[in-house]
């Protein structure tokens, strides 16, 4: 199938969509059109309303006003995910929604199992799955449980699942956030293939370079309204940034970063000597990891997801004692100290998954701010916490870190994902750290917020802090780290100074363990 000569055909048309959550209006009259055979990108800063808009389209949220048209038919009455699927809409959510213990096939057919009589028709399911995998140009063993698959294989399963339901309009919410560079290229090749076959791809992302390289159309959202739309040939980085956040264009215009000077003779802030770690089942997760960070030094850690990044971070902050080797903080052996004592020595931690390890969504902003500082005497007075002091502190941080939040006593869950991340960053980075362990610190942050986060880390580094920056975003590592090391199957390989590296070389180390 190819595009009709008469120009792009709109498949989805949303007009005047409004959606309010309590006090805040997430969408204030959004018009959005997606075209058949196109990769339609939606970009915007945190809380701009991208995900909300797509949830309205997929029927997960009800809009307060506005019209929705799919394939030229107006959708009247209440929309729902069931109806959206019947209309041929599929959505790949930010967080995976697969059953880890189920094999790939069962996950794919879940919800629309083909049946013969009263039984599930496995043969028919397998046959259709084969066709889908052939169409996708790749596949996984249908009998392998999801838990055994890599992140990109899981994503493939999710895409296959959408196609299995017969989806023609495919929504992808931040699909590249957890992928390695090669995997990202493969995904975009796949998206292009789906579009060329006449499907409609809608892509939400923060990564402007990917939009410019791969999207056919882009719609820019800002605080719940559409500020711009560009076609392929009109896109460039400055234009997109200008539309996303006009006031921050200056901040982003600076391309080259001045990294803080590192005194090679200074005593290292942190040193790992041949650290081995094992998990609960005694499997090796880190083997012989050695590294040394001096004051002001930023070490970037790259690696395919699941190569030992989390284990490295947790070993450094003291959640798991090393099975062998030693960890030193400012020359002192802390291998046997727990997280509490290492925090006291100035180790702060930005975990990869804030929901699992960073914040407590049902708790208020103030209590989330308090987490980890709850034994600090200064914050207590006459048998209780100094709540007003803490509230003021949260208000300061809300201003300083540009967090979109009002009441410090509101639950953290009432904030958008990016703003939750910002509060966690504010809590950790303002703790007067000596060593910052940051695992994907900009996850869920828009371009501006991400830039601000790194600026703050550079500021702290120039004051003598050391930063262990673990990330899958190679551009960020190349820009902000002095040196880069690659985790490959639990081993840490020094790649060298970032000024002498490029994404391709790191990518080879990530996937093969050697640059050759």
């Amino acid at each position: 199938m190819s595009l009709p000569e008469t120009g792009p055909r709109p498949v989805v048309r949303m007009t005047g969509i409004r959606k309010r959550f309590g006090e805040t209006e997430a969408l204030r009259g959004v018009d959005f059109t997606a075209y058949k055979g196109f990769i339609n990108a939606v970009i915007g800063e945190n809380g701009a309303g991208k995900t909300t808009l797509m949830k309205v389209l997929f029927g997960l949220l009800h809009s307060d006003a506005g019209e929705l048209e799919v394939n030229g038919n107006r959708i009247a009455g209440s929309h729902s995910a069931r109806r959206a699927i019947a209309l041929g809409i599929g959505m790949l959510q930010q967080h995976f929604s697969l059953v880890p213990a189920f094999p790939a096939l069962e996950n794919i057919i879940l919800g629309c199992e083909p049946v013969r009589g009263i039984q599930i028709d496995r043969r028919q399911a397998l046959q259709r799955l084969d066709e889908i995998f052939a169409e996708l140009g790749g596949g996984v063993d249908p009998n392998r449980p999801i838990a055994e698959l890599s992140v990109s294989e899981r994503q493939l399963v999710e895409i296959a699942r959408m196609l299995f339901t017969g989806a023609e309009i495919l929504i992808f919410d931040e699909p590249t956030a957890t992928l390695a560079p090669q995997e990202i290229e493969n995904l975009y090749r796949l998206l292009r293939r789906l579009a060329d076959e006449g499907r409609t791809v809608i892509l939400i992302t923060h990564r402007l370079r990917e939009v410019i390289k791969h999207a056919d159309m882009v719609t820019v959202l800002r605080r719940g309204i559409v500020t711009a739309g560009f076609e392929r040939e009109e896109m460039n980085e400055e234009r997109l940034i200008g539309a996303i956040v006009p006031e921050a264009a200056d901040l982003l215009a600076v391309k080259e970063r001045e990294l803080p000077n590192v005194d090679e003779r200074a005593e290292p802030v942190v040193e790992l000597r041949g650290v081995d770690c094992t998990d609960k089942e005694s499997r090796t997760t880190l083997s012989g990891v050695s590294l040394r960070l001096r004051p002001g030094e930023i070490l970037g850690i790259a690696g395919v997801t699941g190569s030992g990044q989390k284990e490295l971070a947790e070993a450094v902050i003291g959640l798991h004692p090393p099975a062998a080797g030693s960890i030193l903080l400012s020359g002192r052996d802390v291998s046997r100290l727990g997280a509490k004592d290492r925090r006291k020595l100035g180790v702060v931690y930005i975990p990869e998954d804030r929901f699992a390890d960073g914040v407590i969504p049902p708790f208020s902003l103030v209590l989330n701010r308090l987490l980890g500082d709850h034994r600090v005497p200064r914050l207590r007075c006459r048998g209780s916490y100094r709540m007003n002091l803490l509230r003021e502190d949260v208000k300061d941080k809300v201003g300083k870190y540009h967090i979109d939040a009002g009441d410090p006593d509101a639950s953290l869950a009432s904030l958008s994902g990016g703003n939750q991340q910002k509060l966690m960053l504010a809590r950790e980075l303002d703790r007067e750290p000596r060593l910052i362990v940051a695992h994907g610190p900009t996850r869920g942050l828009d371009v501006v917020a991400a830039r601000r986060c790194y600026e703050r880390m550079l500021e702290l580094a120039s004051q003598g802090d050391a930063v262990l920056l673990i990330s899958t975003e190679l551009e960020d590592l190349l820009t902000y780290a002095h040196r880069i090391a690659v985790l490959f199957a639990g081993m840490l390989i020094d790649a060298g100074a970032s000024s002498e590296l490029d994404a391709r070389k790191i990518g080879l180390l990530m996937t093969r363990g050697s640059a050759a």
Partner: protein, 349 residues
């Protein structure tokens, strides 16, 4: 005080009120179906529970063991743990208190000593299931149920055998006079004992622990998100062990309060399942000490009034257990109901 109001404001308090009203509505239907007038039954409840000073005292004394077991469950729930072993901890606490009150005699300090002994016994009894959970991975509910059987049967054997005081009743020997909390007032056959105020003091202390002390914050954080708590330097395992122990101690205190305030010895029928009733009390009280006291007062009132109900209307006192059961389901329904009402109201505004 402002803090308490803030905790109860908005959702949770409204949910509990909706649940009580809903459960009352269902109960009215049941009452009507068995041929009684719901209005009459309601008035009997109010008369029997609050009608005169004697029934007020009775209501307060019936609430006392429910306050202790409700607090016990609420504390464990806050840390994400389910202490269904409250009944067993109550038994060992009560039995240990009765023995201490009989054999030891530090004069007026006897009642305090009994509480300490009961708390220690409850704490120790709770250690077994939580240790099995944290070091071996078996769910604490299983361990707790096992420990309940052991506690109840052990205490029963002891009170029928080695520690039986007289042949006619299944009771341990009486506690020393110093083991009694003072009786503040007596109306008719009802003694109003100072032990009731101990339960309120314990509730206030628990509030302070949960919402003012670092340990309380740590246990709530560990209950809400273990990963985030661990990354923030909290010793999650230690926190859970201590919390569960304290939960057991609270249940044990309930046993001591019954011995020191009501029976004067360990009596084989001294608990009609208070440890299990604590589950409903904690859920209805939204795991908040003030909410627990309020919920315990409600159930205490119904228990106390059930005598009158049985006497006047010949309705079995089991009706209050029916009510407790319905409340749990009603709690599940309350939130969607509140949301629907809120959505209607905001649409109209």
């Amino acid at each position: 005080m402002r803090g308490i109001l803030q905790q109860l404001r908005s959702g949770p308090l409204i949910d509990s009120l909706i649940a009580v009203l809903l459960a009352a509505a269902v109960l009215s239907i049941v009452v009507a179906l068995i041929g009684h007038n719901p209005i009459t039954v309601l008035s009997l409840f109010i008369c029997g529970g609050l009608g005169d000073l004697e029934s007020v005292y009775g209501t307060l004394m019936s609430s006392m063991p429910l306050i202790f077991s409700g607090l016990s469950l609420a504390l464990a729930f806050r840390a994400g743990l389910f202490n269904i072993g409250g009944e067993g901890q109550l038994f060992v606490g009560g039995f240990a208190a009765a023995l201490a009150g009989h054999y030891l005699n530090p004069g007026p300090m006897t009642a305090v000593l009994m509480m300490v002994v009961a708390a220690a016994a409850g704490y120790a009894w709770a250690m077994v299931p939580i240790a099995i959970r944290l070091y071996r991975g078996a769910h604490e509910v299983i361990g707790c149920i096992m420990m309940n059987y052991i506690a109840i049967n052990l205490c029963m054997w002891l009170v029928r055998g080695p520690f039986r005081a007289e042949a006619s009743t299944e009771k341990t020997p009486p506690i020393q006079p110093g083991g009694w909390w003072p009786t503040l007032d007596t109306v008719g056959a009802t003694d109003f004992n100072a032990a009731f105020f101990i339960s309120l003091i314990v509730a206030a202390l628990l509030y302070w622990l949960l919402f003012r002390l670092p340990f309380g914050f740590e246990l709530r954080a560990a209950g809400a998100n273990q990963g985030a708590a661990a990354a923030a330097g909290i010793n999650v395992r230690g926190t859970l062990i201590l919390t569960f122990g304290l939960s057991g101690a609270l249940a044990g205190l309930g046993g001591a309060a019954e011995v020191s305030g009501v029976f004067g010895s360990f009596y084989s029928q001294f608990s009609p399942g208070y440890g299990f009733d604590g589950i409903t009390v904690a859920l209805l009280g939204r795991n908040h000490p003030a909410g627990v006291v309020a919920a315990a007062l409600l159930f205490g009132l119904m228990r106390n009034a059930s005598k009158l109900l049985q006497f006047e209307a010949e309705i079995s006192s089991d009706i209050i257990f029916l009510f407790q059961g319905i409340v749990i389901f009603a709690l599940l329904a309350a939130r969607p109901i509140r949301r629907t009402i809120a959505a209607r109201m905001s649409r109209r505004a």
